[in-house]
Amino acid sequence: TQLLEQSPQFLSIQEGENLTVYCNSSSVFSSLQWYRQEPGEGPVLLVTVVTGGEVKKLKRLTFQFGDARKDSSLHITAAQTGDTGLYLCAGALLENAGNMLTFGGGTRLMVKP
């Protein structure tokens, strides 16, 4: 069992649809980051959330950190084909003094035209 569970693992939707990806844990994190990875490239940071209950928006992407800092969600409104990719959440455990991140298993999103 992974420390950070992402769901769903795979998602295939039509352009224009909305979707939500979840990242859940029983552990508390000091911060949580979301990355997107495209084929042939390394993951690229989308956002960092730090405060429980925090909501951040990045154009059509909305990120939320749970009140207890154990979970997070990524909501995409009116998905576009350019949103296709692997979405990874990564958390810094509260008890870790260093900068080590624990990654979820990823959500592979396919947006069809």
Partner: protein, 113 residues
Amino acid sequence: DVKVTQSSRYLVKRTGEKVFLECVQDMDHENMFWYRQDPGLGLRLIYFSYDVKMKEKGDIPEGYSVSREKKERFSLILESASTNQTSMYLCASSFGGLHSPLHFGNGTRLTVT
């Protein structure tokens, strides 16, 4: 922009060979990391380094070693490659501050036959 460069995009090695994966970053980052990425498992940390000549084990260090002789370079070594080490290997760096993001290279896909 931070650039993290991995020396090879693809490598094919035979079982028992010694394998070197090289990574260089150009932003004077303190921290460097080696992850392996396998479908459904996300990114798993192999080793990391907070400073020159310093190394710490991650979650799955068995069968691997690392070297950091210079700040900008972090090498991953497979002393005797095995087929279960076939994977995508990702190098990353960060400046080390609280909540600092990881900057990834484009990965090395290693196949061990």
